[in-house]
């Protein structure tokens, strides 16, 4: 089952564009793509920084990679040459997002920066009071982001001017998912929230038993999200009512991916899970690493995951299709294109595979 594109303002602008966390506003990953083939060779490898936690984004043949040291790098995807760098005042842990020609970037100094994608010049900044690890989500001229100050912010994407701010009950590291009139996110207070996108009003909230790091996805009118309480929750998107939940051995921070009627997610217990969206039953689970914290990416019958190294599994059976011993990540995800795969590793390396 695919994310409901009628509800989500997906902004996919081309097959080789990967403009935010898990590709686009629908977090579609590699959906619609033919099965990802095993990479045959390393095209290039670039030492970008000492550490990268976030995922690269891709547009017009340029990769944009945010390193923990606060540098945003614009790198030619073919030549691996750096076009420009933007140095933020603080560390960067979240995946940037495109909005028009600007790249939006959360920073540990509490601000979101808009950076002109051609030059690396700062366009505007929007302030919060805590570090911003979430990816800004852009929709209809508004960027939404959560902050560790426990607030969700909506700002004008052209100016950074604040539209609204909504205080919740805990720190926010969960990137909102935008659909219909609402945005959905998890919170450190253990609740899943649905906020009205126009006003920030709380439409509903549903508690879990522990804090939430995980970023949700919507599919089949369900909000799918993991909690530190070890469960993946499927909540009715309209009411927040629990439809089902699936328990794992440890906390879930790996944001889910959906495809082929299943939701795929990792758990800190080291397993990658595939659970049927319609009833919450296990399709398969596979040991994927010591702790799986990065989100998987679904791509035409395969599920790619960075855990320890990087691997791809058959989405129907969980059978391992290939594995490469590079690109270990805490949160970074592979960028899949028709011609290759781009990986950012926690060790600060950027890889282009083909």
């Amino acid at each position: 089952m695919m994310a409901d594109s009628t509800q989500t303002p997906a902004t996919v602008e081309g097959d080789s564009e990967w403009i935010t966390l898990l590709k686009d506003a629908a977090r579609s990953g590699g959906q619609g793509r033919r099965p990802a083939r095993p990479p045959s060779r390393l095209r290039w490898r670039l030492r970008v920084a000492r550490a990268i936690r976030s995922s690269p984004i891709l547009r017009n043949g340029m990769l944009y990679v945010a390193a923990v040291d606060g540098n945003l790098h614009a790198i030619d995807a073919v030549s691996a040459k750096t076009k420009w760098k933007f140095q933020a005042p603080g560390k960067i842990h979240g995946t940037p997002s495109f909005s028009g020609n600007a790249i939006l970037l959360g920073c540990d100094d509490g601000k979101v920066y808009a950076i002109e994608s051609e030059t690396g010049a700062k366009v505007w900044e929007a302030a919060s009071s805590g570090e911003v690890w979430t990816s800004p989500v852009v929709r209809q001229g508004v960027a939404f982001f959560g902050s560790a100050d426990a607030c969700v912010y909506a700002v004008n994407v052209s100016t950074g001017e604040q539209r609204w701010r909504r205080q919740l009950g805990g720190r926010i590291y969960s990137t909102p998912f935008s659909a219909g009139e609402n945005i959905y996110l998890g919170c450190g207070d253990g609740k899943v929230y649905c906020l009205n996108a126009a006003s920030g009003a709380i439409v509903w909230s549903t508690p879990t038993e522990n804090g939430i790091d995980c970023s949700p996805v919507l599919a089949a009118e369900l909000v799918l999200i993991g909690s530190e309480d070890f469960y993946l929750y499927a909540l009715d998107a309209a009411s927040g009512a629990l439809r089902w939940k699936y328990g794992t051995g440890l906390g879930i921070v790996s944001s889910p991916a959906v495809g082929d009627g299943a939701v795929f997610f990792g758990s800190k217990d080291g397993y990658l899970y595939a659970v049927e969206i319609r009833n919450g039953r296990l399709r398969w689970r596979v040991q994927a690493g010591e702790a799986v914290t990065a989100p998987p990416v679904f791509a035409g019958g395969t599920v790619c995951i960075q855990a320890g190294g990087t691997g791809a599994l058959d989405s129907a059976s969980g059978k391992l299709l290939w594995r490469a011993g590079l690109g270990g990540a805490v949160q970074s995800t592979p960028v899949l294109t028709e011609t290759g795969i781009y990986l950012a590793g926690m060790d600060g390396e950027l890889y282009a595979l083909e």
Binding site: A51, V68, G130, R171, E228, G251
Partner: protein
């Protein structure tokens, strides 16, 4: 084998301490190689305090157990709350938890909480316990912005989700972001020794310790350690405050004894570490510090409180030794060449195997350095069972 121990000052005066040989505890079986001279260059001048290790209650260990505190691997903050309160009152003799905490922390203090996420996600300092400590500090009047939760490795804190459930305003800090990241260390405070011919012979103290906080509350976990024997208060504090410490052990040998204790004597670490709250919700009895194998992680539901890290670690060592005996695993003191393996997988899954000859003698060695009491006969071990 009993070894003579002697310590002498160096030309660096009060800031420097050179240990030529220090191995206080009887090691069994094989003789271990002697440790090289270790130079400790602390911050100078530094004003010591009676709160510094071994602190206000040398030799006293309060152990609080409640079986309801961890159920199916979920820690209950509702149960942890009275455990910590009762433990603090028992430690200090105060009638209220607030007064107990006020013995260690003042409202104007910047307080660091040194957690241990190195075994995450299977075993790390419980967020539920850390939140209780934060709330207790707030009750004393410490503002959230003056509370810093920290460890050396950002990515381990990330895996442990240390940030998510803390109250907004608390600062959360990983000292190192990636390999060879020295930006979070104070180059004026270091320990220097050449153990195995390594190119970098210094380990620097984290700047958050030297400049960032006034007091430190140490929150280690209870687990065995493949090189040190156990990783408790001393190791969490020493090896969690200095960089470049893995160089002290190279299979199968380890100089964690005496380096761990030496590091804990370095000022201002020694003076600032005023309280130790050992998280025994889970007890790793084999495979530490990084194991993820649940077979060797007991859900013990215990908290240990004290100001004396040596006494606390002695009690921890006894508890893990007892568990290993119960499970038929060899003693942490055993130095049997047949137990050594270079295969990590074998080590993680076989409690009869180890990567190093463990050196739990670092605890007694730290006692000889004045950091606390290692003699079990002199330790005042108070046990409380709440449920």
């Amino acid at each position: 084998m009993d070894r003579r121990t002697f310590i002498k000052g160096t030309c660096l005066g009060t800031a420097g301490l050179l240990v030529e040989r220090l191995d206080a505890s009887a090691q069994r079986d094989l003789p271990m190689p002697q440790a090289p001279p270790i130079l400790v260059h602390g911050l100078t001048p530094h004003k010591s305090s009676p709160l510094g290790m071994p602190g206000l209650f040398p030799g006293r260990v309060v152990e609080i157990h409640d079986s309801r505190s961890i159920v199916r691997n979920h820690v209950s903050q509702d149960v942890v709350h009275p455990m910590l309160e009762q433990g603090m009152k028992e430690l200090t003799g105060e009638r209220s938890a607030r007064d107990a905490w006020a013995k260690f922390v003042q409202p104007a203090d910047v307080v660091g909480i040194k957690i241990n996420p190195s075994g995450a996600p299977a075993c790390s300092s419980s967020p539920e316990l850390v939140r209780e400590i934060v709330m207790a500090l707030q009750a004393v009047g410490v503002p959230l912005r003056n509370i810093v939760v920290w460890d050396r490795y950002s990515y381990e804190m990330d895996i442990a989700s240390c940030r998510t459930t803390l109250p907004p305003g608390v600062r959360v800090m990983g000292i190192e972001n990636g390999v060879r990241d020295l930006s979070g260390y104070d180059l004026n405070v270091y320990c220097q020794a050449n153990f195995f011919g390594e190119w970098e012979t210094r380990s620097y103290m984290a700047s958050v310790v030297t400049q960032g906080v006034d007091k430190i509350i140490n929150v280690p976990t209870t687990k065995d350690h493949s090189a040190a024997g156990v990783t408790g208060c001393l190791k969490n504090l020493g090896y969690g405050s200095f960089n470049n410490v893995a160089r002290s052990h190279r299979p199968p040998y380890s100089f964690t004894d005496p380096l761990i204790g030496m590091m804990c004597t370095a000022e201002p670490l020694r003076t600032k570490a005023v309280l130790h709250i050992m998280d025994g919700m889970r007890q790793v009895w084999h495979g530490g510090p990084l194991t993820q194998v649940q077979d060797f992680i007991d859900q013990t539901g215990t908290i240990y409180v004290g100001t004396d890290p040596v006494a606390l670690d002695t009690v921890e060592l006894q508890a893990i030794e007892e568990k290993r005996r119960e499970k038929g695993a060899p003693s942490l003191w055993e130095h049997d060449p047949a137990s050594i393996t270079s295969n990590n997988e074998e080590f993680f899954h076989n409690p009869n195997k180890n990567l190093f000859y463990r050196r739990p003698g670092h605890i007694a060695a730290a006692g000889k350095l004045g950091l606390g009491i290692a003699d079990p006969g002199r330790i005042e071990h108070r046990r409380m069972v709440l449920g």
